[in-house]
Amino acid sequence: MASSESTPLIELVGLNKSYVNDEVETPVLYNINLSISNGEFVAIMGPSGSGKSTLMHILGFLDVPTSGHYHFKGASTEEKTEDELARIRSTSVSFVFQSFNLLPRTSVFDNVMLPLLYNSTTRVSERRDKAMKAIESVGLKDRATYLSNQLSGGQQQRVAIARALVTTPEIIFADEPTGNLDSASGTHVMEILQNLHRAGHTIILVTHEQATAEHAERIIRLHDGHVVSDDRTFTRRIAKRGNQIK
């Protein structure tokens, strides 16, 4: 994960987001200023309705801000077309969802291969190798041929993580990844995410649970669309990495 130390991976400046529904404007995010560096493990915390999911969608290029700036790797992301955003999604970011979102009646292997279909620079044999490696890294090598619906919830979420890893993205977004899991499976999933972090991946976790958020080294709290705290109490490795703080 070699990257310029001076340029943050993500930089939000005065970002606002509001939704217009039946001509009524509902503001969701107010004046967000945020900087996240390469290799960080950040938790975005807040109660439901705080805007944390919207923030994640904007950070993950699934949505666009109403105003303000979003610089990704130092480059402005405003004025990008939908196709360009899709291209960034296919190469630079990936998602792990609360409800796994695996394709039903489809093998583990094919599910993990899925993002590579939209990443057409890779050759077929190369894709297979990448998918197999990703499946191995979440400990499901012996389940590769199973259909997604034949797996337990914890296993399904691990498949989703493998799917998120397969494109070697710059950021992995995890949206309440343990929300649908029992505590043992949840712990296992969080361990995997921590291992990924240790291996150098940038991880942005969205959660409303304090216990889950504490796996991260930095916790950003949102309330009613405002950043209310940016807490590095849990930054076990902050000194080593020397991240920028706004």
Partner: protein, 412 residues
Amino acid sequence: MRLHDLSTTALKGVTRNRSRALLTMLGIIIGVGAVVLMTSVGKSMESVILGQISVLGPKTIALWPGKNGPEQGAATLNPDFDSLKISDVEALKRLQTVTNISPIIFMEGKTTYGTEQTDTRVGGTTPETYTNQVVTIAEGRFHDAQDELEGRFVAVLGTDTARDLFSNQSPIGKRIGIGDHKYTVIGVLAPVGSQFFQNMDERVIIPFHTAHIVSQRTYVDMVTMQSTGDSADAIDDIQWLLRRRHKIVPPTTGVPTDNDDFLVRSAAQAQEILGTVSISLTLFITMIAAISLLVGGIGIMNIMLVAVTERTREIGLRKALGAQGRDILLQFLIEAVALTFLGGLVGLAAGLGVNALIVGIAKRFLENYVFAVNPIAIVASLLMAAGTGLAFGIYPARKASRLNPIEALRYE
């Protein structure tokens, strides 16, 4: 996204829900199946009828006595129809536009050999008939000009008649009875098959002169001849000549009328009529195909819309993973085309299967009925099926491609 990946993805989408895919395809299957079946049957029938016409030879013209309108066939062997005189036949020989004139008198009475007997039709005709009707000899010889001149009592047998009377022994040189007279068999014809649903292998041919003497008739039952040039000109000449000789007022329009006491037809005319029939049949089948493909297409659109709704989360996921609108559009479009094309292939197989069944049954009644397919109809119906998928798949596919990924992911 590459085309290969797109097609694989679309095919997986189709096969993930097989029973539904099959039901969706049903309309297309039936449409294509019906078209393939009907065009094949049409083609088989056409070859049966064309085969019968070709027995006559392309330049052959047939003339019958008859009081009926031009639409009805002539009644042969009807003693009331004595309008075609032997003198008419002599007059025809002076026409420049026809040649090979061969009158026929059908004889009455049974044909016998020993204790065997048959009701086979006996025709007294001249050697020109062998050319006009395109027959070849299997054994012995045709009767010739000398047999005619001397009015010899000789007979040429159809292959089935020869078998009926003589079983496995050679009939050549044997003497058979026809009516009150005995004839020496001089030849057996090669098999011909059916002509207009009449078995042409069951017949006996004797010299015309002999038949004329025995029957003492002054009129004939049929005349076959060949046109020297355009058969339409020949027919005009024949009509002109016979109307003048029979004092019939010629029609102003030039088409045969009820006034005529004869019917004249060319093999070319018969082929033309057949062509018209086959064109209207094709139009009819095309209409059926269009309607069933339309109905099938609407079914496809319906199911694809359901599929888009059902798979909203999948579409959202694909978009989150980097799929562009175009990727989703093509995926669903290819899925629709794959559904209809597969439906077309299944329909093709079903149509050919039922056709094979029909051929098996029809062969018992029509020996010339053979398995035939219309390759143009097959290619066209498959293309139309795929085109239906394209036309009716575009709306659901566009709908899918325009879904907002966040809303799609949240869809319950």
